[in-house]
Symmetry: C2
């Protein structure tokens, strides 16, 4: 299964909208280490917001914290104002 | 299959090292739109480098560009100097 399939199988957004998905997984060597995923989350959102206008209702953020593995999933629907009328 | 399984099945780094994986997928509404994945790549690497010391040999970056879907995979092995002797 290639990387493209992982995202395709989640269903594709209608043509006039775009979709950006970010998955982060961090495997710590031990529990005392700071959780990099929580640290990176805000900064990665800030980088994205510099390039696309993001409406809070169109952003879904999911975090999972295991014993030594943390994951973060950011799923953003991007509205393209002009493309819809094209 | 939960998100954690996707990363677990790729094999886990030895205990004294940590691993950070970032997957990005961008579904454009049409080919003329700028490729957000290429734009975000450098800035996300810069955010990561602010928090962990990254050796170029320990970073693997893979980009796939389809008709309207682009994906980016960043796979970083992080060496933990003291943890190895713990």
């Amino acid at each position: 299964m290639s990387l493209l399939d992982i995202f395709k199988r989640r269903g594709s957004a209608p043509v006039a909208r775009e979709r950006l998905q970010v998955l982060l997984a961090y495997e710590r060597s031990n529990r005392q280490r700071p959780d990099l995923v929580a640290v990176l989350r805000e900064e990665i959102m800030a980088v994205i917001a510099k390039h696309v206008t993001v409406d809070q209702d169109d952003v879904q953020i999911t975090m999972e914290r295991g014993e030594t593995m943390s994951t973060l999933e950011i799923d953003i629907n991007i509205n393209i104002p002009n493309a819809a009328a094209a």
